[in-house]
């Protein structure tokens, strides 16, 4: 982002103004150069030009005439009025450009509109025909405004639909919910007809003078303190009997329904209604329902219903089989784990999986299918099949008399190897950037990390001399960024060594935002490849 510090800018522009005041020739030159720059596809450049225009416009009559003559082009470049040539990025500068231009044009019109007719006409033209709203300081173009309006309308319609579905859902579920909670309520009333009296604290009918008890009379000194802890049974237990079993069962069922279905639903409705901005009536209704559900649940939990068992002799008639004790299995598992951890302690040898199993597998692989040449060496006493050349057709056919056609392919023969296969017992274990160790099992040399050497737990080689320093340090020590920055600040020379294979790109305009870099997103790069013309052509074929 350019620094449009007013003071900085005025300092810079004073020089320009000093030149321009000498003669109109310079004004014209300045105008042409700035107008040329205004055509750049970079909003920051345009904004800078606009500020120069502002300085010159309020000073030079000739400049005003020049600009007013080209006012149409000018307005196209600084205002978002031409759909065919939208304002260039970066977006932040674009917005600032629009706002600044609008403010400026309005100001010019107010001050100079009377003297420069074309400016006045231009202002009115922009206002009427191009629908530029000079009062709207957000500098939204007509299309933008329309787009926003359309979006709002769409959202509103969507909201209405959602609200409607919510209402429908609510009206359909409400009856069930109320039904459910009423059942619970009624159940409670049936089970605890005197519920309210239970809840009320029983009044103590003790003597009133007991408060002024003389402790001394009981042999207790006045300054002694004591604590009396009285445990009060807050939870009520229900004894299941034949009479109330059905009621309890019903209440439990309804509770299950309430917690699993209605409670989440009510919460969801509440959130949805708040999001959609439903009217107060609906929200209140939902809140009432929510309170009702929560109250019922709370009461249920207070009364400790879940503890009462309504099943008839459930423990004796259980169909479930006893599960075998897991202790044994756990022991085995812990053993294996401890073994492995012991092995990990060693620096080099490490095995993966069971070695015996692997060897067996390898041995199996080494039984090659039988071919003609190896019949001689084969120890099996299968007769050698004979092939005769078919005189008519030029391919080998099996002698039909041998009768062993089916078995030939299945017969294998062992191949003698000089040494027995010995699986690799170690891994490379060089430290990886991820913090793990290289898990490759190579016999002698890891293709990534070189010869396999003994390493400690962190993956550093035990013998430092074994690691040849094949590479020189990539950057000399004087290439420290801090030092380079210091040198650059002092002498203005950038001594950074360019990275190999890359040419040092000199940013010509360090104060400008790189517009190309803004477009260089992963999406655009991918698009370039995926939507390439040649690729598309290939696909369409």
């Amino acid at each position: 982002m350019l620094n449009f510090d007013a003071l900085y800018f005025t300092n810079q522009s004073v020089g320009l103004l000093n030149i321009c005041r000498i003669s109109d020739i310079y004004v014209k030159e300045a105008y042409q150069i700035t107008m040329h720059q205004l055509n750049q596809k970079h909003s920051e450049v345009r904004l800078a030009c606009l500020l120069i225009f502002k300085e010159l416009f309020q000073r030079s009559h000739y400049f005003r005439e020049l600009l007013v003559a080209d006012f149409q082009d000018f307005s196209k470049l600084v205002l978002d009025i031409d759909a065919r040539s939208p304002l260039p990025p970066p977006p932040a500068a674009l917005k600032q450009l629009k706002v600044t231009a609008m403010k400026m044009i309005k100001e010019w019109y107010e001050v100079y509109g009377e003297a420069y007719k074309k400016l006045k006409i231009g202002y009115l033209y922009l206002k009427k025909s191009k629908a530029v709203d000079f009062e709207d300081m957000e500098a939204r173009s007509a299309q933008e405004r329309r787009r926003i309006q359309e979006k709002e309308e769409r959202l509103l319609a969507l909201k209405q639909v959602k609200l409607k579905t919510l209402m429908e859902e609510l009206s359909s579920e409400e009856a069930d919910l109320i039904d459910c909670s009423t059942q619970i309520e009624n159940g409670f009333e049936l089970l605890f007809p005197d519920e309210f009296s239970l809840k009320e604290p029983s009044k103590c009918a003790g003597p009133s003078d007991s408060d002024t008890l003389d402790f001394r009379a009981h042999g207790i000194t006045n300054n002694a303190t004591f604590n009396l802890v009285i445990e009060v049974q807050t939870t009520q237990t229900i004894h299941v009997t034949e009479d109330n079993r059905e009621i309890i069962k019903c209440v439990q069922d309804q509770y299950r329904l309430l917690t699993s279905r209605f409670l989440p639903a009510v919460f969801k409705w509440n959130i949805r209604a708040a999001k959609l901005g439903a009217d107060e009536r609906l929200q209140k209704k939902i809140l009432d329902l929510k309170l009702k559900v929560e109250l019922a649940i709370k009461k249920y939990q207070e009364l400790n219903f879940s503890s009462c068992n309504t099943e008839l002799d459930s423990s004796s008639e259980s169909d479930l089989e006893t599960v075998a004790d897991l202790d044994n299995y756990e022991n085995q598992v812990t053993e294996v784990i401890s073994d492995n951890s012991d092995e990990l302690e060693y620096s080099r040898p490490r095995t993966v999986g069971s070695p015996a199993k692997k060897k067996k597998k390898v041995d199996n692989e080494r039984r090659l299918p039988l071919d003609i040449d190896s019949y001689e060496s084969s120890q099996s006493n299968i007769p050698v099949p004979t092939f005769s050349r078919n005189p008519v057709e030029s391919y080998w056919v099996q002698d039909p008399e041998s009768g062993l056609a089916a078995t030939v392919d299945l017969v294998t023969h062992p191949v003698e190897l000089d040494e027995a296969f010995c699986p690799v017992k170690w891994s490379c274990r060089a430290p990886l950037p991820s913090g793990k160790l290289c898990p490759r099992n190579d016999r002698k040399k890891c293709p990534l990390h070189g010869p396999i050497v003994a390493r400690d737990e962190l993956g550093h080689p035990k013998d430092p001399s074994s690691v040849r320093s094949s590479k020189k340090p990539a950057i000399p020590d004087w290439q420290e960024p801090a030092l380079l920055a210091e040198i650059k600040a002092a002498t203005g020379v950038d001594l950074t060594i360019p990275t190999k294979g890359k040419r040092l790109k000199k940013n010509k305009f360090p104060n400008l935002t790189d517009v190309k870099a803004l477009n260089n997103t992963s999406r655009s790069r991918l698009e370039k490849k995926v939507l390439k013309k040649s690729t598309m052509r290939k696909i369409s074929k």
Binding site: S60, I121, S129
Partner: protein
């Protein structure tokens, strides 16, 4: 010769009155600029395709828009004040008048001898003859094709024909007395964009077309056309089929007031001057005039000045050329979109122009000094604001500290 001397010699008879008049007109026209005092009330809601100023009084300006509306403005300043806005005195649009054109109006023209009647035509293939006072059509002529242009002879005494240029390849002649088309002039091979009656020979007619040809007709003649204008003045001048007037569509035509010359503009960005007697190209080089209009471009000629001036719309500007030499005298800047038409007012040497930016602008001979004059009605200016010295807005304002 300054004004005082000119008046003196006029009084002593040393100077011809007509000469004096044309001198003054020429002087005024060279000072033509966007008027600071006059403006036309902005009533159009779409681009303006055509305007016409009546010749009788030079008072009423007719304009047709792309939305099918027709407006009439009174341009005569009777207020006695420099500051003047031309009021809209007549409006025919969809809201107010059911007889309004359905599509874009392409051409409007006053009846040459009276302001009681005018003609309009447009893309709805209708040529409407309006009663200007009642604002209802007296007659409607349906033509076979979308109408680009029509013209009524300014000096005809023996006929009442209106020539109509349309997308059909013929020029139709509509007779106002019968209210129907009487002739078809066939020779063009493509849409006709412009027609004009000669102000000298009342039966002569010129037509420019999309087939790049410019033909001269005598409507009495039995054969197809008198001759075709040849831009190269070649030997096969008589070969109507082969000669071309432009290397692009011929989309604007105008006779000079004496009828001796014809000017045409084309989409090849050229303007050509033709001798109407011989059909020769006069080979005046006006340079390149960029015009993007695919439809007609209406330009005008000042007949009262010496030399005569042509006002040609060129995109957003109006160019002023000398007729005989082709020298560009001025560029009039003011419009914000393509200028489509202009009309010259001989009485006060001012120019009216219409453009796609919905504005009709007035160009008047106002000198730079005149702008700085105080308004005429001093009474209004005697408010508290007059105490504050008004800054002269057209002067440089270099602040003194920048030295």
């Amino acid at each position: 010769m300054n004004d005082v001397e000119a008046i003196f010699s006029l009084k002593t008879g040393l100077l011809d009155a007509r000469k004096f008049r044309s001198n003054q007109a020429t002087k005024r026209i060279s000072a033509l600029r966007l008027s600071n005092f006059q403006e036309v009330e902005n009533s159009h809601s779409a681009g303006i395709n055509t305007i016409d100023l009546e010749k009788v009084e030079g008072r009423y300006l007719l304009s047709g828009g792309a939305d099918g509306s027709i407006h009439i403005h009174d341009v005569l300043n009777l207020s006695g004040n420099l500051q003047f806005t031309c009021k809209n005195v007549g409006k025919i649009d969809r809201q107010s008048n059911r007889h309004c054109h359905k599509y874009s109006v392409e051409c409007v023209q006053w009846y040459p001898l009276d302001t009681g009647m005018f003609l309009s035509s447009g893309m709805d293939k209708n040529l409407k003859i309006w009663d200007a006072n009642a604002q209802v059509p007296a007659d409607v002529v349906l033509v076979n094709g979308k109408i680009y242009h029509h013209h009524m002879s300014p000096n005809a005494t023996q006929h009442n024909l209106v020539a109509v240029a349309s997308t059909a390849n013929q020029v139709f002649l509509a007779d106002l007395r019968s209210g129907s088309t009487t002739h078809e002039l066939r020779s063009h091979t493509s849409s006709i964009l412009s027609v004009k009656w000669s102000p000298m020979q009342e039966f002569q007619l010129a037509s420019g077309s999309m087939d790049n040809r410019l033909l001269m007709w005598d409507v009495r003649a039995a054969r197809s056309c008198l001759f075709s204008m040849d831009q190269y003045n070649g030997r096969n001048h008589a070969d109507v089929e082969k000669t071309t007037a432009h290397n692009g569509n011929v989309h604007g035509l105008s006779f000079t007031a004496d009828g001796l010359f014809l000017i045409s503009v084309g989409t090849d960005c050229r303007m050509r001057l033709w001798n109407t007697e011989t059909g020769r190209n006069e080979m005046v080089n006006y340079g390149k005039i960029s015009m993007e209009s695919k439809k007609g471009t209406r330009f005008d000629i000042s007949s009262d000045t010496e030399p005569q001036m042509i006002f040609v719309p060129s995109q957003g500007n109006i160019l002023v050329y000398e007729l005989t030499t082709g020298i560009k005298r001025a560029t009039l800047l003011g419009h914000y979109n393509t200028v489509t038409c202009c009309a010259y007012n001989e009485n006060v040497q001012s120019l009216y122009s219409g453009a796609n930016d919905r504005n009709i602008l007035v160009w008047a001979p106002e000198s730079a000094e005149a702008i700085r004059e105080e308004p005429v009605n001093k009474g209004a200016a005697l408010g508290p604001r007059s105490i504050v010295p008004r800054r002269n807005l057209t002067e440089d304002a270099w602040s003194s500290d920048e030295g």
